[in-house]
């Protein structure tokens, strides 16, 4: 049986099912990260002293990563725009760039993490690093998850474009919504952890 309302919109919601599904999922993600941000506030306000992020973390590397992730959001939305223009070649190019930017972000985080572990600054070192590793670790998992989905649409999943380009375009839009959310979370994580 075909999955209903993948292309056509439902009359009651005015949306296809994938769109409403991804937004409900993102709503749950907001609450997940919200709980951790609330924990951050609780731990920070309850602590007699709190280090400035720049004293513990590498601000230039994180700034570079911010630029990388923002760039990946642009290439992601350009990948979707290319499909709307029915330019599959450009879609592949932009989606490939998005995956590459995601990989660069993770490699930079790997070097940041490695440095901390090398000097004995693990999550148990202090409260600041505990919440830092929790928040950035969860965010990295999201980056990785988004990369896996995007890689699927870049590779084997792209076969759908030949038979149903509108459905494929919708699916890329939905994975893009997740990717932009991941970028959005980083936009708040960056000043919270590194600059304040």
């Amino acid at each position: 049986m075909d999955i209903p309302y993948t292309v056509e919109v439902r009359r009651d919601t005015g949306l296809n099912n994938g769109k409403i599904g991804i937004w409900l999922f993102l709503a749950s993600e907001v609450m997940l990260f919200g709980a951790l941000f609330a924990s951050y506030i609780l731990i920070r306000t309850g602590s007699p002293s709190w280090p400035r992020g720049s004293e513990m973390l590498d601000v230039p590397l994180a700034t570079f990563n911010t630029i990388v992730l923002i760039s990946s959001s642009v290439t992601m939305v350009m990948a979707w725009a290319s499909l709307m223009r029915r330019q599959f070649g450009k879609f592949r190019l932009y989606m490939g760039a998005t995956i590459l930017f995601g990989a660069v972000f993770l490699v930079v985080k790997y070097f940041e993490y490695s440095h901390h572990f090398a000097i004995g600054e693990g999550p148990s070192h202090n409260n600041f690093l505990a919440i830092y590793f929790t928040l950035t670790g969860l965010h990295m998992l999201h980056v990785f998850g988004g990369m896996v989905v995007n890689a699927y649409f870049w590779g084997p999943g792209a076969k759908l474009y030949q038979t149903n380009p509108v459905w494929f375009t919708n699916r890329v839009e939905h994975s893009g919504l997740f990717w932009h959310f991941v970028d959005l979370v980083w936009i708040f994580l960056f000043p919270t952890l590194y600059l304040l």
């Binding site: 056509e8 919601t13 005015g14 937004w23 642009v74 709307m84 936009i187 960056f190 304040l196």
Partner: protein
């Protein structure tokens, strides 16, 4: 609606895509500039309150640009807005809880610590 009709709708959208792409590039430039501003302000070493206020303000502007234009929230359906309104309400409550449950900016009031210490000594 048939696939053919949906295709036609997608073609109509494609006419507007050029405009959208120009907006995406503008938003990208704005996000880069705001990122530089965020980092530059951090080097001013402001005290905590103005630093948090400015950093959060810039982050909210950046987040709004991403949500509004990259996630197309500027032209989304009412149901999505309803879902997000509910999400934002619960999110605010979640963040407000730790803020509202302590006084004077400190989780444990300074006077409480010696009192607890004295009680322990009596035992």
């Amino acid at each position: 609606m048939s696939d053919h009709a949906a295709d036609h709708s997608a073609d109509d959208h494609a006419v507007d895509i050029d405009k959208h792409v120009r907006v995406y590039i503008t938003v990208f430039v704005a996000l880069m500039v705001l990122t530089i501003i965020t980092v530059a302000i951090s080097y001013l070493h402001l005290s905590v309150l103005p630093a948090v206020t400015i950093a959060l303000f810039v982050a909210i502007v950046k987040g709004s640009l991403v949500a509004g234009y990259f996630m197309h929230l500027v032209s989304e359906k009412k149901l999505i807005y309803a879902v997000l309104a509910l999400t934002v309400a619960f999110f605010v409550v979640l963040l407000a809880l730790p803020v509202l449950t302590h006084e004077n900016g400190f989780w444990i009031p300074e006077a409480a610590a010696p009192a607890a210490h004295t009680d322990a000594e009596h035992k």
